[in-house]
Each structure stands twice: as C-alpha cells, then as structure tokens.
C-alpha cells in the first residue's frame, strides 16, 4: 500500500467513524425522546381509569365527554393512540389546559422564560462561587477553609429547598426588608413595562428602564441566590474532588519544574483539566434547578413553569401537567446532549480532528 493510499484509507475510516458517531447520537436522542413520551403517555392515558375525566374533570357534561373521547382517539387501539400522541407532542400540541382554557403550549411559552431566567441566574451564582470554593478547598485540603466548604456543601445537600426559601422570605423580606415581595415584578410596572424576550432583566436593560431593572433585580435576587446555593453545594463538592485528582498528576510537577507560579498552575493547568468533567456537573446542576423550580417557584410565587405545573396539579389539569413535564424533560435531554458535546470540544482526547 502506497503512502497516499494509506492516508486516504485512514481519512475514510475517520469520516466513517464520524458518521457512525453522529448516527449513534441521533439514536440516543430519538430513543430518549420516545421514552419520555412513552412515560407521559403511560401516565396520562394508561394509569387513569378514564383519561377523559382526568383531562376534563368530573363536572363536564356527558356530550362534551363523548366528543372529547372521540377527539382524543380513545376508541383506537393503544399503539395507534401512542403514534398520534407522539405526532401531536412533536408538533408542540399538548392539548388545552382546563384551568386557563389556552393551548398548553401557549401557556408554557408564556411562563417558561421566567423559569429559564431564574435558573440561569442561579447557576451563574452557583458556578461563579462554587468553582472557586471547590478549588480553594482542594488546594488547602484539610484546612479550616476546606472544612467550611465541606459543611456548606453538606447542608446544601441536606436542606429542603422550599423550607429554606420560606425562612429566607421571613428573614430577608419580612424582617430585614432587603428584597421585594414574592413575584417577579412590582404591580406598578406590570402594565407600563412591555417585555420583548420574556427575560425581564435583559429586557429592562435593553430598554434602559433602570427603575424597572432595579425592581426586577430586587425580586429575582433572593430566589436566584437560593437556587445558587443549591448548585454551589453540588458544584463546589465536585470541583474539589476533580481538583484533588488533577493536583496529584505528574504534569503538575512538570509545570512546577518550569517555574510557573502556583496561581498559574492551579487555574491554568489543574482547573483547565478539571473543567472537562466540570462542564457536565454544571450542566446537570442547571437541569436540577430547572426541575427544582417546581418547589421554589411555589414559595416565591414566581410565575414560571414550576408554578404553572403545581397550579395545574392542584386543579387536576393533566394536559398542563404532562405538557410541562415533556417540556422540562426535553430541556433535560437537550442539556445532557449539550454537555456531551461541550465535553468533547473541551477534551482534545475526544475531539474529532
């Protein structure tokens, strides 16, 4: 085999490998999504004795029930129902909410930005504080600082989030009056402020409405800090363990032998390596905050997806509950995939060249 032949053979092998990886990727996404839909289908259509009643509630008149049964295709065999269900879900049709009488998707589109904004700010706080804390704990292993970080993390792992939220409201809102009343924005601005993206902080900045920005900030800071604390607990603990592992490696000795400063070694070499698994951790904690919104938003009356789901739950509005579940599940799947991709780009060993 000549040299060029050999090379082109290798290149072909490599591109075949890339295609296989992409295919595998697709299979993973598709099966996970179908699995999610299968579970929600099971919850919505199989568990309830009469799904129509589950959707409409038991006060609906008989002819409405019959019409809905037809419309939901409940007279068809189960596998056809599932097929139709998947098709509808993929086109974003989760039915109509009994509570709001809107299409569930319309409702979700309205409330989801609030949840995203809160979870994003929470993760930002958690990562910006948690990573340095974890690094500090690892570098000063066994010191008082390490112990303190450990306790902060342990408490974060063990405390019920809704309870801490209640106490935080009691202290920072009722007693100290540092933050605003639960909710997202003051009633004064509710009608004068017209958001574009749905992310109020961004919108207020964009429109240069400083007083609105201040008000929105006073509303978001407490729930965001709480969520931040929970992701901080997780992120700092994982950062510590990844950093301890990296600091033992031989390349750290080599970096010292080059005369690099400790700061450069810690932040430039060890953390750069620890960042590879950390990305997954931060992505997972982001997903965790999205999900945890169900509990925190209830306490803070935060008009996001979590509050929407719990309100629907309390009113037995199954279409809305399952629609919300599918949306959060889809975001989870998306975040998992994204962190996988990020992992690959951060680690040259898995990067496709």
């Amino acid at each position: 085999m000549s040299g060029t032949e050999y090379l082109s053979g290798r290149r072909r092998a490599r591109s075949r490998k890339a295609v296989a990886a992409a295919l595998q990727f697709l299979v993973v996404v598709a099966t996970t999504y179908i699995g999610l839909l299968a579970v929600t289908f099971f919850i919505g259509r199989v568990i309830p004795i009469d799904p129509v009643l589950a959707v409409l509630g038991d006060r609906a008149p008989a002819h409405v029930v019959e019409r809905t049964r037809e419309a939901m295709g409940l007279n068809l065999p189960l596998y056809q129902q599932f097929f139709i269900y998947c098709r509808q879900a993929l086109s974003g049709d989760f039915g109509v909410s009994v509570l709001t009488t809107n299409a569930v998707m319309t409702d979700i589109r309205r409330v989801f930005p609030a949840t995203i904004e809160l979870a994003t700010l929470g993760t930002l706080i958690g990562a910006l504080i948690g990573v340095p804390l974890g690094v500090l704990a690892a570098v000063k292993r066994g010191s008082i600082a390490d112990q303190i970080v450990r306790v902060i993390g342990l408490v974060g792992y063990s405390v019920p989030i809704f309870w801490l939220a209640l106490l935080a409201l009691l202290v920072f809102y009722a007693r100290l009056k540092w933050v605003a009343y639960p909710g997202r924005i003051d009633i004064v601005y509710e009608y004068t402020f017209s958001p574009i993206t749905g992310f109020y902080l961004v919108d207020a900045l964009w429109q240069r409405q400083w007083d609105v920005f201040r008000d929105v900030f006073r509303h978001i800071i407490l729930p965001a800090s709480l969520l931040g604390y929970f992701s901080l607990a997780y992120i700092s603990r994982m950062t510590r363990s990844f950093m301890l592992n990296e600091l033992q490696q031989e390349y750290i000795v080599a970096a010292r032998a080059k005369g690099l400063s400790e700061a450069r070694i810690i932040w430039g070499h060890a953390l750069r390596n620890a960042a590879v698994p950390l990305v997954t951790v931060i992505a997972l904690s982001y997903a965790g905050l999205l999900e945890g919104s169900v509990l925190t938003e209830t306490v803070f009356s935060w008009p996001g997806l979590g509050l929407y789901i719990t309100n629907s739950l309390q009113n037995a509005d199954m279409n809305a509950v399952l629609g919300g579940t599918i949306v959060i599940g889809s975001v989870f799947i998306g975040i998992n995939l994204l962190s996988d991709l990020l992992y690959r780009t951060l680690d040259p060993r898995t990067r496709a060249r």
């Binding site: 993973v28 099966t31 996970t32 699995g35 999610l36 579970v39 929600t40 919850i43 919505g44 568990i47 309830p48 589950a54 292993r141 342990l154 408490v155 792992y157 063990s158 405390v159 019920p160 989030i161 809704f162 309870w163 801490l164 209640l166 106490l167 409201l169 009691l170 009722a174 363990s241 301890l244 592992n245 997903a287 999205l290 999900e291 945890g292 169900v294 509990l295 209830t298 306490v299 789901i309 719990t310 739950l313 309390q314 037995a316 199954m318 509950v321 399952l322 919300g324 579940t325 959060i328 599940g329 989870f332 799947i333 998992n336």
Partner: protein, 310 residues
C-alpha cells in the same frame, strides 16, 4: 507469623486481625472489623450513624415518647403557642396540636418512605444491572438504553406527574419516587458485574456447572452490594427531600398525617408571625438527611478507600 504467637492464646483483636483466618467466618468478621475501624475513625460519619439510630429509636417508641396526640389538638386552649410554652416544648400548630409529638410520629412516615423506596428501587436496579452486565449483547444494550432514558428524565417532575395520575397519598409517593430512582443502581450494578464477570473465580463456578441465574444471584450480586449500599445511603437524603417536597405540594401524605413536608406546607400561612410552625419540621428534615449524607460519606470512605478524599 512464628510458632510462638500461635501457642500463646490470641486476644480477640488479634484473632480478628489475623492475616491467616482459620474459617470463612473469621475472615468475614475480620474484614468487617477493619471496615468498622476505618469508619469509626471518621467522627462525622459516627455522628451520622447516631442520628439515624436516634431516628429509628424515636420511630420505634413514638407512642411512649410523644407527650401528646399527633392528630388531636387542643383547639380551644392551645392554638399556635410559641416554643417553650407550658407542656409544649416546640409549640403548637393552628389546630392546637403539639409540634414535638407530630414530629416524633412523623419520624415513622419518613423512615417508612425511605425503607420502602430502598427495598423497591435497589433490587430492581440491582437485577437490571447485574443481568445486563452478565448477559451482555443485545439484552445489555436494550436494558442500558432504558436505564439511560430514565436517567435523562427530570426525576422530581416525573414523580409529580406520577402522583398526579395515581392520586395523592403516601403509598403513591413511594411508588413514584421508586420508579424514578432505580437507574443509578442499575448502572452501578452493571459496572461491578462487568469487572467480576471475567474474573477467574466466576469462570471456575461456571466450569462447575452453575446456571447463569445461580451465578448472577449467588456470586455476582453479592459483589455489587457494598457500592450499592453506599449509593443507596447517599440517595436516602435525596429521597427524604423529594418525599417532603411532594408532601409540601400536598401530593404526599394527606392530613392529618404528621408528615414533615406537609407540616411545613400547613405552617406556611403563619410563617410571618408564628415562624415555628413551619420551622420545626424543616429542622427535623435537615437533621435526618444530614445524618444520611454523613453516614453515606463515611461508608464510602470506609468501604471503598479508592474514592476517599472525594
């Protein structure tokens, strides 16, 4: 060891630490003793163990320990009394019920949820993982795909949806939590199985004609136990928090059951003026899940020295 040490009668500790155990029992006890020594050197882990022993004690003797009835209150004379009131150490709630007594009885519910979830989810995960790892091939591929699918789900939200469909109640909460918490156990069991599957002693057992089922249950599953126990212990805190969350949303235990999460929810209305009604159950949850986390950390370090320091 020289002959001299064998003629002298061994102390119990020497017997345990002997590097030449005379029986399987001695070897096993010796190993347990070593694990215990590593575990008990970790003071926080011992604190965790004590917390959980305390929980079990309180749950077992709730009837004797509780000064008042957990469900019937003194509506006329003892509504919303602050902590430290005469006869009501932690105060009373809006129905005049003693919060301490409710907490004591609530420990039973917490313990029940945790134990039930563990005995449903852990065996399911263990069997799925061990079978997948031992069988390999397409069975492995399918089982692990299903596991991964479940792993990618939002656990809390899915549990909520389950309970919403099944109807609120503590049994349904247990089922919902169990359904969403087996996948990590399957992953662990599979990983452990893969490492022992090709070992020589499994090959030896196979040569002796043991059936695959026997190999999996008698030889593979026991090998997965220690990492599984660690993981389950660490998950307990999360299970307690999820159960409390469901209770808080009114989907778990129903009134008048003294479930801690539901107690927080009912105290929520008075949080500004009668802070103790919601605060006390939260402290109870915090202590118990802290206990599980401390114990889990300690167990991990003691059973798996590789991972210590993480």
């Amino acid at each position: 060891m020289s002959l001299a040490t064998e003629t002298r009668p061994m102390t119990r500790r020497e017997w345990l630490l002997s590097d030449r155990p005379q029986s399987r029992l001695q070897a096993r006890l010796g190993r347990a003793y070593m694990t215990w020594r590593r575990f008990s050197a970790n003071r926080l882990a011992v604190v965790g163990l004590l917390i959980l022993l305390g929980l079990c004690f309180v749950a077992a003797f709730a009837d004797l320990l509780a000064p008042h009835s957990p469900v019937i209150g003194n509506l006329a004379g003892a509504r919303l009394l602050p902590p430290g009131s005469e006869g009501y150490l932690l105060g009373t709630d809006d129905q005049g019920r003693d919060i301490l007594s409710r907490l004591i009885h609530g420990s039973r519910l917490t313990l029940a949820v945790v134990v039930l979830v563990a005995i449903i989810a852990a065996p399911v995960g263990l069997i799925v993982g061990a079978v997948a790892g031992y069988a390999g091939g397409w069975l492995d591929a399918i089982l692990m795909r299903i596991t991964d699918i479940f792993l990618a789900f939002p656990k809390l939200v899915l549990a909520l949806a389950f309970v919403a469909a099944l109807g609120p109640g503590i049994e349904n909460a247990v089922i919902a939590i169990a359904v969403t918490s087996w996948p990590p156990y399957a992953r662990i069991a599979r990983a452990e199985t893969l490492t022992v599957r090709n070992s020589d002693y499994i090959a030896a057992v196979r040569l002796m004609g043991a059936s695959p089922a026997r190999i999996v249950f008698r030889h593979v599953v026991p090998m997965c136990m220690s990492s599984l126990i660690v993981r389950v212990t660490l998950d307990m805190a999360g299970i307690i928090l999820t159960a409390a969350g469901l209770g808080f949303l009114g989907l778990g235990a129903q009134p008048p059951l003294p479930e801690w999460g539901a107690m927080i929810a009912s105290g929520r209305r008075f949080i500004l003026d009668q802070w103790w009604v919601a605060t006390m159950p939260g402290i109870a949850i915090l202590i118990v899940s802290l206990g599980f986390n401390l114990l889990g950390d300690g167990l991990r370090d003691a059973l798996d020295p590789r991972e210590s320091g993480q």
